[in-house]
Structures are given as C-alpha cells and as structure tokens.
Amino acid sequence: MIINHPLLGPRDAAEFVYLGDAALIDRPDPSVADAAEKFHEYGYLRDNPAGEHQELWYHEQGDRSWLVVTRNTLSHEISKVELARDVAVARGRGR
C-alpha cells in the first residue's frame, strides 16, 4: 500500500506502523462520573466496518508523525490522509 503523506507525499506503507481506529484519539475525560465505563468502551470496543474506516498510522520510519488515514477496508482505497495532530485539535483536544 501507499500512503500519501500530507507533508512528504506518497510513501510505502512499510514505513508506517498501524495502530487502529482513529477513535483512539478521543480519550475520555477521566473526571466524569461514568469514566470507567467510557474508558472501557475506549479501550475495548471498536467498530469493524466493511468499508470506509478512519485509522491511525505512525510514520515510524519517516517523520514520526501520526496520521489519520481514511481507508476503505474492502478495496484498500485511501481517500484521505491527515496529520493526526490536526485531527486531534479539530476534535477539541488540547492540553
């Protein structure tokens, strides 16, 4: 596979490490009342879609950036690649 890195251009997937669902960005707030339940979902429950999937890839043999890759799990078509940092900020993560 080839991942079209937003800063570096197309790179072989062999340079990357796969983590999984980009929902892992959405770490729950530990201070809420049902934090344990939220963390359980965060840690253990994943969608496994046959189709478009947002997933985290780490450019370990490259610029060390985490990417959010939108990939079709049926065709491997990659429709979008974003820096995970930008996605995280857009989703409201900060300090």
């Binding site: 960005i25 530990p30 060390r64 900060g94």
Partner: protein
Amino acid sequence: MSQTNRIKGGLVDRSQTLKFTFNGKSMQGHPGDTLASALLANGQKLVGRSFKYHRPRGIFSAGSYEPNALVELRTGAHQEPNTRATVAELFDGLTANSQNHRGPLEFDVMSGVDLLAPFLSAGFYYKTFMWPKAFWEKIYEPFIRMSAGLGSLSMQEDPDVYDKGFLHCDLLVIGAGPAGLSAALAAGRSGAKIILADEDFLFGGQLNAETYAVDGMAGSGWAAQAVAELAAMDNVRLMNRTTIYGAYDHGIFGALERCTDHLPTSGGKPRQILWKIYSKRSLLTAGATERPIAFGNNDRPGVMLAGAVRTYANRYGVAPGKRVAVFTNNDDGWRTATDLADKGIEIAAVIDSRDGTPRASIHGANMVMGGRIVDTAGRKGLKSLTLSNGQVIKADCLAVSGGWNPNVHLTCHQRGRPNWNDDLSAFVPGDDLPVGMSVAGAANGTLALGAALKDGRDRANEIVKDLGFKASRKAAPKAEDEAYKGAPFWHVGESRKRAWVDLQNDVTVKDIKQSHAEGFRSVEHLKRYTTLGMATDQGKTSNIPALAIMAECTGKTIPQTGTTIFRPPYTPIPMGALAGRARGKNFRPTRLTPSHIWAKENGATFVEVGNWMRAQWFARPGEKGWRDSVDREVEMTRASVGICDVTTLGKIDIQGKDAAEFLNHIYTNAFLKLPVGKVRYGLMLREDGIAYDDGTVARLGENHYVMTTTTANAVLVFRRLEFARQCLWPGLDVHLISTTDGWAQFAVAGSNSRSLLSKIVDDGFDLSNEAFPFMACAELTVCAGTPARLFRISFSGEMAFEIAVPARFGNAMMGVLMQAGEEFDAVPYGTEALGVMRIEKGHAAGNELNGQTTAVNLGLGGFVSQKKDCIGKTLSERPDLNRDDAIRLVGFKPVDPAKPLLAGSHFINKGDTANMANDQGWMSSVAFSPIMGHSIGLGFIKQGHERKGEIVRAVNPARGSEVDVEIVSPHFYDPEGGLQRG
C-alpha cells in the same frame, strides 16, 4: 546425438554451438534455444514422468505455463527442481535431468502405478488411506511421498545470492509482445518514465513465434527494431527475463528478474532480484495462452499445443515431429499446419471439430472437418491417433488448439473477476481492475495482430495524456488483421480412454465428472478435491477446460459456473528470492554497544538482546563455567566496584514548556515538582491499567528532561509518547527525540564507585553524598573536557552512578574507567551479573512487567498518584484488578538451600493437588545469589505481602521439578537501601 529435428530458419544463433546433457546424454543446441527447443531439436520427446501415474510425458508448450516438462537443472547445491524446460535458457555446459521416476526415465519402475489408476481417482487420498489408522504414518504416507511428486531438493544450502530492489515509473508495461512493444514505443516517445518487462529473454512475444509481417518486415525483425529504439530512450527501462508476478495495492507490482539463470555461473552476483515496482499506471499486455482439447490418451509425448508447435518451428528452427497432425476448434490451429507445411514438414492431417470446408489446402494432408480424436497410441511417444470414425492416422506429433485464453491473471489479483466473452469462448478482463491498470492486446481479447498493435499504442497514449505528457502522434504499426474464428469444443465425449485435463496434476475428464457426482460443484471445491490447477502451472492450460466440463455436468453456462480466483504469484518464485539478503546473520541488523570492541578484547561472551549484542559475562582464565564468572562479577562489584555498559536502555530527550505536564500524563507518579538536577523513577501503564514500562527521568534543565526506558521497549515507548503528544494532548509544548545511540552509558556500581569516578570527573565537580546525593544528576565534563552526564541511580542496590559520554568516546571510556578502577580491582560485568544483582535487590524487570501485572501486583501501588490522571489510571482502578487476593510480587528462597529454583514454576499451597484450580501464582525470575549462597527467586503469589514466612511448593511439571520455598521480602540485599544512599 545430433540435432535431428533442427530445420532452417528461426532466431537461434547457429554460429555457436552449446553443449548440454540430459539424463547424462550429451546434446547440442544454440544460443537462443530454450532447453525445451534444444531437447526437441535433438529428438528427445520423452522428458519426464507424470505426478501421480508416472505416465511418460513430453514437452507440451513453449511458455511459462508448461505443465509437463519439469526438469532438474544443474548439480550439487545449485540443483533446482521443477524448472520448466520451456523457459530455461540454454547455456554451454547445462546439466538437466528428468524427474519423478525410479530407474531410467524410459523404464520407470513406478510406472506400474498407472495400472492402479482405477483406485487413484479424485479424492482417493481421503477414501483409501483411512484405515488402519496406524498405517498412515508408517506405510501410506511414505509410499505416496515416494511415488507421487515432482523434483527433489539438493538438501544443501542454496549457494547463490539474491537481492531485492525498488523501482519507480509512470507506466509499467507488462509483456513485450506486439501490444506491449507498440505501447512502450508510444509512451516512451512522450517522455514518460516507462518500464517494459517480459518474462522471456527475447522481447517480441508472439511476434517471434509467428510468420506475420509488421510494417512490411518480419514480425521478429520489427520487434528487434522497436527494442533498439526503446533502448536508446533514457526514460525507458527494458527488463527482459523479468516476470511481473503480482499486482498489489495502489500500483505496486512484484517482479522477479532472473539475472544469471542463463549463465553457467552467477559469478557471485545476485542470481535473481525481487523488485518492488511503484507505478503510477500499468498496462497489461500479457498476451494469451492456448488451451488444449481433452480426448483419450491426449497426454502422450508428441501431443502439444498447436501454437507451441509452430513456435518451435518458426522461432527456434525445430520440427517437433516428422509427420504432424493438427486437431483444432478454430482457424488459428490451421496456421500451425500451413506454417509447418511451408517449412517442408509433412502434415498428416488437420482435424477440425467444426463442420464446414477446410480453411486451407495443404498438400498431402488428410482434412477431417467435424472430426474427433478418441484415442492415441505410442508408449513413449505418439505414433498414431484414432478418430471417432475408426480411421487411424500415423503421426509423431499432434498439434492441438482449443482456442486462446487472454492472460487476465494480474487483473484479478485485487479480487477483480473476469467477464466471459462468448465470441472468444474465454474470460476477458472484468470491470474491476487493480487501481491504475489498463489492458491491451490479446490480454484484453484483441487477438488480431493489427488490432493489438493499435490497441497498445492507443491505450498508452491515453495513459500518458492522463499523466500530463504529450502523446506522440506517430501511427500504430501496420499488420494483418485476421480475425479470430473458432467454436467452443472442450473434450471428445466419445472417448472411452482417459482424457487428461490437467497434465501436471494428472486430472482427467472422469475425475471432474466424479467430483461433480460426489457433490463438489463449486469450482473452488473442484480444485481442492481433484488438485486441478495447483502446482507450478496453476492450471493455466487446464482451468477453463475444467470449468467447461463442470458447466456441462451442472447444465449451467461457464460464467454461471464461475472461475477460480487468480492470486500472486503468476509463476513460481524461488524461496531464495523471497528471502533476498535476509539470510543467516543478515536476517536483521545488529546493534553494538559503544564498548563492544573493548568487551570483545576482554573475553566477553555476548548475548542477543533484541537487535543488540550485549556482553553477558567476562570469563577469566581458570573459570570453569559461566556461573564462576557471574558469581565473581557480582561479588567483586558488591565488594568494591563493577562497570557495565548500559547504553541499550532507551534514552529520550524531552523538551518543552509543558514537558513536566506531559510526563504527568505518561507516568503514574507525579513529575511537576521534580527539581532540576534530580532523577525520579517512573512507572507507565497501558490504558487498560496493566503495567507497561518503567525507567527514570532526569531533569537537566527548566524545560529539559531525559527519560530512560527498558531496552526492549525503547522503540515502543517512543511511539506511545509521540501518540500522546500528537493525538491526546496536542496543545502541550513538548518535543521528543531519541538519543539512545548518542550516549555511551556505563553503570559504575559498588562502594568504590565514587572513588573511581572522582579520578575522571574534571576538577571542581563535587561527588560527595551531600553535593551529589542518591537520585542526583548533572551535566559535567570528564577526562579534561569531554562532555558527560552523571546520574546517581542504582539498579544493583549498591552505591552507584551511571555516567554517559558521547558515543564515539564510549569504547575509550570503558578502558578509562577500567584503568581508573585498577587500584580498586574494578571488574567489568555483563547482563547476567546485572540480572543477579537486580533480583537480589528485588527490582522488577521485563519478566515482571510481562503485560499481565498491575502496579498493585508489582508492589508499586504507591506509585499511582491519586492526585492526577495518567494513562491507564482509570482502568487500573477496576475492582477485579484490586481484589484482596490479588497476586503480589515477593521473594522466594528454597527451604533446602542446596535446591535450585526454576523460573516458570507455579506456586501451590502445601497439601493441595498441583493443578490449575489450586494455582497461587508463578515464579518470574530466579538467580543463584552468591551473596546469599543459594538460589533466590522473584514471583507473584496471591496476597504475597501478607504471607511472609509461609512455605509453599514451587511446582514445574514441565521440567519435573518441585521445591519447597519460603515467601520472603523481594529485597534480599540491603532491604533498607542504606547502601545506595551512602
């Protein structure tokens, strides 16, 4: 033997003669020959025995899809089995041998197996060898293995070298036949970067095999001219002897280049290269493969594909027979008759399954329209054939054509399915092609030459325009446009004799019918039940006829019956090529510690720790075993001072205004108040609450920290930190960079460590306990100006320091430390002594942080700050991880001090049966403690912290050991910690 069947013409170089042997017989050929063409030239028809029935077999085709002519090439360690003679390029001195027979090829003692055929039909394996059960391993399997099968291995290490590589192009053209050459010319002229690959050693494909003219010259001559033009273009890479074996995601292709297989020796250069080709676009111009017709005894040597017969005559100047008959269901088969007749070869008959008038007139030939062959004769080579009307025709070669299948294989490697084309009675590329792929020429069902040439050019022009290049206006080359005409005809129903469909796997029409009768109707089941389409040819000539026969059985159409899925590789890839350079110690990189050379010169025994080579111990003369060395290293370190290279621990430089807050998120314990110049132990959890890694963090400046990780987790922790930094807390100003390799770091441990170091730190640096206490750190210089970092940390329990210098100084530093330590009897120690001392001290390491244990289990519950969040905190509080009977890390000593302990032993209470229900925990680390004088262990046991003094059994059924052990504190050595603070 002379070249009795060599005729004039062809593309072989008659000015040179090459000698080779087949089964020990000396033969001759010419450059440009394949082994198959040379064997035929020498009149050698019988070349092997079949897989299951040991039937005599000959050369069937002239391409990589050859099912029959599998031979062993070369000798000794270079011997390679199952090589297709039809693609093996002849060279001087080649040694070839036939396969799968006992005794001479002509008198295979196993040929009696053929008489057992009624018992060996489809699925016989599963039916026949069921009982008695004990017979399978001792009798049935050895017999089957001996009697069935293909070539044999040399059982020696492959002496050749292999390589891999990466190529990039705008357009990859797969196959250099008429469409491919025409496409490459057009695309090349546009300036796009082109790779043109072909499995053959000679570019031109079918142009070299036929007598068609292109642009008014011989097809092969036009091909040579096209290749010359392409070779002169800087933007074109020509790769002959290269098979594109797989189409992968996003325009990536696998290619196998055979670099030296056509040479007597590889000369130390890679024999083959496995290329990964990155293409923006690809054009499949892989041509078509002829398919046979099944009829009685259609497997005799001399029965060949019609296209192959004329390929041997036209390209190689070889007559596959003296008197040739043709059996065809299409017009193309007639070309074989006319081409051969033009060369003066006697044509015995042309038998066309279609009714109507003969398509050509050939002098002296018997023309049988609507004809059927029901049987053949000739034990080791064809002698005659019998028609359904009883007529017997003498012939020593029968050219069979059942039509042509476009080579759609690569179009299906991404699970695309081909479409059925009724005009061709064949599958053509489907609508769902791999990304970026187009198809042209015969592979796309365009079988007429002129049309294929134009198709190649037009597709190439479309592609380059799409890529932003200016397409050349040059017209496509001109050639005849004889349309393909044929009518489907798959097998002769009137035949009473066995009719072969898959020659390689000995599958007959009857086997397919039987598998249908037994309920195996899906093509995938048919394939697995009969083995049809397996092995080196992957059914390239047999899949479609088999499908047609299955369709006939089920009463469905062929497209309704389906097609098997084509998967990479297109043709076999040697294991050596897949391994490439990754053999022996080159399987993975080796990392050396900075003091490696010093250690080697000083008697170190090394151990692999991941990719690292670490000194395990340093043997001294007179020491009888590793324990002697390790005990001494521990004793001398504890008595005075020892030095150990600990560079392998991960070091991560962490800087930023928010670095402390970041560390607070990462570690269970608090980091906001760590002062500059101090080190703190830190424990990391996984988000599920399980302990992950531990290490230290030194604060070197206001915004500057250095983290250490365990050796094993260095890369993984870095990855997690980047995840936390970029994905979880992107608002923090914090930056990470690994410095693991940059600093040579040495533990200097023991009561004399301070005295030793005071000799090398530059003047003015105060090492006293007041100025530089336990858990202090500093940047300083040593040995007159070399920058260094000093940490007052201890893994051994002794007063200890870790000193780091830039890596290039590391080897010299080890020598300097040892010199400075001479007066204290300083000793270098390795990973074993390091391990013994950490167990004596009761420090958890990888055996304890094994992915199953929590901070509470490890006795580190106090390290989980209740005042802040961190990764893993919430889930670490789950009730089940905090039960009263949770396992706890404690120490164990044998009740009988003479007894050794075993790691992996499980604890069972006295009086309980040793089973999982009574399992109390396990021993994670053990060592012989020279200080205690007996074995000691660390382990986890339920409520261990409240059970000190209790005796339990450490049971290890796998190794037949049971030892009574006493539960003790994990801190065997200096439990109060006075020494490390001293």
